[in-house]
Symmetry: C2
Subunit: 294 residues, 2 copies
Amino acid sequence: MNLRQYLSERKAIIDESLDKLLPYDSEYPNIIHKSIRYSIFSGGKRIRPILVMASAETVGGSFQDVIPIACGVELIHTYSLIHDDLPALDNDNYRRGKLTNHKVFGEEIAILAGDALLTMAFEIISNEQNKVNSHKILQIINELARSCGTKGMIGGQVVDLESEGKQINISTLEYIHINKTAALINASIRAGAIYFDASEEQLNMLTKYAEKLGLLFQITDDLLDLEGDIKKIGKPVGSDIKNKKATYPRLCGIDKTYSIAHKLADEAKEIAGSFGEKGTFFNLLPDYLLTREF
Amino acid sequence: MNLRQYLSERKAIIDESLDKLLPYDSEYPNIIHKSIRYSIFSGGKRIRPILVMASAETVGGSFQDVIPIACGVELIHTYSLIHDDLPALDNDNYRRGKLTNHKVFGEEIAILAGDALLTMAFEIISNEQNKVNSHKILQIINELARSCGTKGMIGGQVVDLESEGKQINISTLEYIHINKTAALINASIRAGAIYFDASEEQLNMLTKYAEKLGLLFQITDDLLDLEGDIKKIGKPVGSDIKNKKATYPRLCGIDKTYSIAHKLADEAKEIAGSFGEKGTFFNLLPDYLLTREF
């Protein structure tokens, strides 16, 4: 498997599906649809939807069937970025090298665009005519919502905001990462497998994998923020430092952070190995994250 | 039927259910749960959840079974109020006589509390173990999400914001009311009936009723805003005028607005009549809205 090619092909599938699912710019009221499309098509790598599709395949399903769920997850992710960037929260002017949503459309539209994306995620996922699968889809909606709520993503976001400028310990930092980033990654991976009736054992393995991957994902993001280059990640380098955000490098130092990341990657790969050939993507992904420049 | 007593009893049922469903103030991270409970328990009349329950009964179902859906609808309604009140939107300091969420908890927590309530609504509604009903619940989630999206509540909100301080015509005003207020009322009434396998004809009648009621609801709110008293409605009288909001009284004058409202009430009652005794609540509600002081 050529991972870069795989990621690029899967991203193209998601981009095309999102384009079909989202209202056009020209639909009334135009400004909200422009705002939504602006953020959705601003260079996201579609990692979370790709995880949904890959997980479906890992348990023997077809990725096409979970595309609506995959797109829903990307809408949720994008909503969270738009709201995170708002002046009242992280107050970021740039993301992925482009002006943030509120800088282009104003705060009021950015708030509503985030609200609309979250709402639309549940609309798209529930828009399923297949009665046989209804129970599974309900379970997926339930797990996704839980992962984004106050005991998941929003909880992580709240503690992250509360920790700004404060001395925090490693367990608080872990809480932030596990909830703010890893929870949705976990729910994405579980969603693809649940859709195809994964066994309890498969789900347990995927959940463990997802926990490692989610933490690895946030840690490599922290490292990127510290060492990255604005051209590559599209936001001013060190914006976490500007906001006095708690990160692994700040708390443990760079060397220790790299060694934590490598350990997580090794553990994730070991779990992925148990899925045999069907786990190839999950096996390659951790090393890719370790060396990523996005 | 004593309508005031009925409303008060139903409100008590919803309040108790919400109290059970929502995380306690003491749950981590405390501030977001405090913020959520602050707005949920700040004197809402629970009209939308009561509509869900009444609609279930109108088609022969039991109101107890739709309580989670009813609560979900109230969470959605509350999220929309918190975000509407934000400085970037209506910038209101008071609602129902109490400080708005962001005035108490700060803008960042108010944004996240709204996000959390919207998310939790879908979590609660999808948290259903009964496989038989899964398909119906998916349909309800789908309709609710649609009613709150850019072709529903959020669309109405966007056009409302864009219309501030502008001369608008009656069809734009209707668009705002139908989407910002009536869409969720419509979805609430349909939800209770869909849950109990209402016939196509029943659903059509209820939908027509809901369209009249939704518009009547917003028009009487406009009249209240103009003529009300801060002690009764809990916000400074004439706040719509402060924001140069488009309203029926501003566009058509007070007398014409009252006659539109009475016509809508008559039409709604006629439809409710076709449900016989089971439609008693729906029959009494329009006149109650006409004379309401809340």
